[in-house]
């Protein structure tokens, strides 16, 4: 039962955003008896509302408010108003996500130490390590019912996976399997096992895939301690004369502005909106934006280096049938500088439907070279490259001159590849193409990165307040009752898809916040 909290109730924890970070934090706090108001810019959509049609679903769920781009990444040219693919809805991007849930490798928490100094890279060790996160990872895997963990079975292999696996084994890879997925491989929590419908990116109509929209959020609401206010778009965070956050101002659906008072404010709007919000909350005490004494808010934006490889065969594959991300090769995820770059990458199967394939295979391309590839759509197999990209200070989210519907400056997302990113992507393309060649591909297509789906690092965690925005609990260095609870906390990106780590950090943060509240530290 949703708890109605008064706008003037300054005992609540206000959470901005209800995605992987915010949705989990809201539930975890509510379970501990803490009053939570979660403000979500988007509306509420549940499995019965999801549409298995790529563009229609995009229109329903994606964040379509304006954003701008700059930098030498191709996205800035091909999709200048769409730097990232992020959801604006209760549940955030966990409605769209594919479910790949891999833990960081131990050395990835210590990238600066492991990789050494790299010109142009603003590498830093996380202030936490593998040992510290292990129990939280276990809780996240249990919450999300991740396959191949906790005794759960893996998912069965689809056509796309079988091509991928055959190629991988032919090249001698050994860590090849159908992934660790936050997709039920059996009935768990009253949610059915995966029915192999495809369209994981459009919201799982079966509810087989974990999404906060229909797991954590209703569970939190059921406690009576969580109120989710949808279509409540936060414009800025405010503070009192003591500099502590005291509430947030949001625009309701009808455009009216309201201020919700708060004891603690947690920002979880995704790595583009969270720094934007901190920057838009500048005041006379905080002229550069809140929590920004280090000047690091918005900097070190990471997106994983990404890229895809599609292979065309002389016989049908029908890759769209079944789970979108249906398997992984992990052998290249290790750190092995002999390959010409630091860090590593995962290869994961991927499938796009025909409409998205036309838009993303080679944006801007036309003519026979392009259309003959699409003509073979039925005979295509696909994979995605997820590799660690280097944090760079100049890759950053700043406030743009463009304003949104509320008159607030929107985010500009600036990104240019680091030399290490280019070297890794080129290597990964070769490996991916070789995999498909080994299965008899007649044509392979090294496809450029899509608008960012993994957005990381713009409020990074650091031991030293000068190096980042938040401490090891996600608490901002500058303001004790202001926390960051989403992927923007990432100090470095690691090779793995980020959400399992975002969820593990959110569960851990809830514990910390509850403890600090009971000890009256915040």
């Amino acid at each position: 039962m949703p708890a109605p909290f008064d706008l003037s109730d300054d005992s609540v924890v206000v959470i901005i955003g209800t995605g992987a970070g915010g949705g989990v934090l809201a539930n975890e706090l509510a379970q501990k008896g803490i009053g939570v108001v979660a403000l979500e810019a988007g509306g509420r959509y549940l499995p019965e509302d999801y549409v298995n049609d790529e563009w229609e679903s995009f229109g329903q769920l994606a964040w379509l408010d304006p954003r701008t781009t700059s930098g030498d990444w191709r996205v800035a040219k091909d999709f200048s108003g769409l730097p990232a693919w992020i959801v604006k809805a209760v549940g955030g991007t966990t409605t769209h996500w594919a479910g790949a849930s891999l833990r960081f490798q131990p050395h990835e928490w210590k990238a600066a130490t492991t990789y050494g100094a790299l010109e142009g890279a603003n590498l830093l060790d996380w202030p936490i390590d593998d040992k510290e996160l292990a129990p939280w990872y276990a809780r996240a895997e249990e919450k999300m019912k991740v396959t191949r963990t906790g005794g759960r079975a893996g998912l069965p292999g689809s056509n796309n996976y079988k091509v991928f696996e055959t190629g991988a084994k032919a090249l001698g890879y050994e860590e090849v399997h159908t992934g660790r997925m936050a997709i039920n491989s059996d009935w768990y929590d009253d949610r059915p096992p995966c029915q192999q419908t495809g369209f994981c990116f459009q919201g799982c109509k079966w509810g087989a895939k974990w999404s906060t929209a229909y797991t954590d959020i209703p569970a939190g609401e059921a406690t009576g301690n969580l109120e989710v206010r949808e279509k409540a778009h936060v414009l800025r965070i405010e503070h009192g004369p003591d500099g502590k956050a005291n509430g947030v101002v949001y625009a309701a659906e009808d455009g009216t502005e309201h201020k919700q008072m708060a004891r603690i404010v947690c920002v979880a709007g995704n790595s583009i909106e969270s720094p934007r919000l901190l920057l838009n909350s500048a005041s006379s005490i905080y002229p550069e934006g809140m929590a920004n004494s280090s000047g690091q808010v918005g900097r070190n934006y990471m997106r994983h280096l990404t890229g895809s490889v599609y292979g065309i065969f002389d016989k049908p594959v029908k890759m769209w049938r079944g789970t979108t991300m249906a398997g992984v090769v992990q052998d290249e995820a290790r750190h092995d500088p002999s390959r010409g770059f630091v860090g590593g990458f995962e290869l994961e199967t991927l499938s796009l439907g025909l409409p998205f394939m036309a838009a993303f295979l080679d944006p801007g391309a036309w003519g026979r070279e392009f259309t003959t590839a699409l003509d073979s759509y039925e005979n295509m197999a696909g994979m995605w490259i997820v590799g660690e990209d280097m944090p760079q200070e100049s890759n950053r989210v700043t406030l743009s001159d463009t304003k949104d519907q509320f008159g607030m400056p929107v985010a500009n997302v600036h990104y240019s590849d680091h030399q290490n990113d280019r070297a890794m992507r080129d290597y990964a393309y070769k490996v991916g193409m070789a995999m498909y060649d080994a299965v008899g591909a007649t044509r392979t297509l090294p496809t450029p990165p899509y608008p960012s789906t993994h957005n990381l690092g713009t409020n990074r965690m650091s031991a030293n307040p000068q190096d980042g925005v938040v401490n090891k609990w996600g608490q901002t260095h500058d303001i004790a009752n202001l926390f960051v609870s989403d992927g923007s906390q990432f100090t470095t990106g690691a090779a793995e898809n980020p959400t399992l780590t975002i969820v593990a950090l959110a569960i851990r943060q809830a514990d910390h916040i509850a403890g600090a509240m009971s000890k009256n530290e915040v």
Binding site: G157, K162, Q196, W206, W320, P355, A358, G364
Partner: protein
Amino acid sequence: MTTTTAPRGLTRRQLLSRATAAGAFVCGAGFVAGRDAAWATEMTAMTPESFATLVQMARDIYPHDRIPDANYVTAVKGYDTPEEADATEAGIAALDRRATDLKGSRYLDIGWERDRAEVLRSMADDAFFEKIRAGLVTGLYNQKAVWPIFGYEGESYSQGGYIDRGFDDIAWL
């Protein structure tokens, strides 16, 4: 539709109407039809000649020999409106001028796709070309009617997904 593959002399078609190399018939005032009569559309705001050129341009940008004209017509029909027509007519006029400069005839009368593509390539940075191309990405490929031509099956939820319908039926590996 098929592209004319031989230099054309004066044909019966040209006598009947102002025929086009690419096959769209300008049937008369305000009316365009496919040569095979598989599609026909009434013009709202554009001239039939310009619309037929636009349809050919659409096919030359994203040529799929197994997609019938009707789907290209659907993809660009939105330009035949009072709001869009002037700009589109201007774009087509520029296309015809470029075709005449490079190939000695208006766009529709160029027989080979590769020659028409050359004309398009010379205009690929123009706003008009980019607008038409970008519009086709959804205008053409998001038509459910073309999906079966590519083998794409669209949604499967209503049929229970593919768990019992071939998600792992690959037999040639």
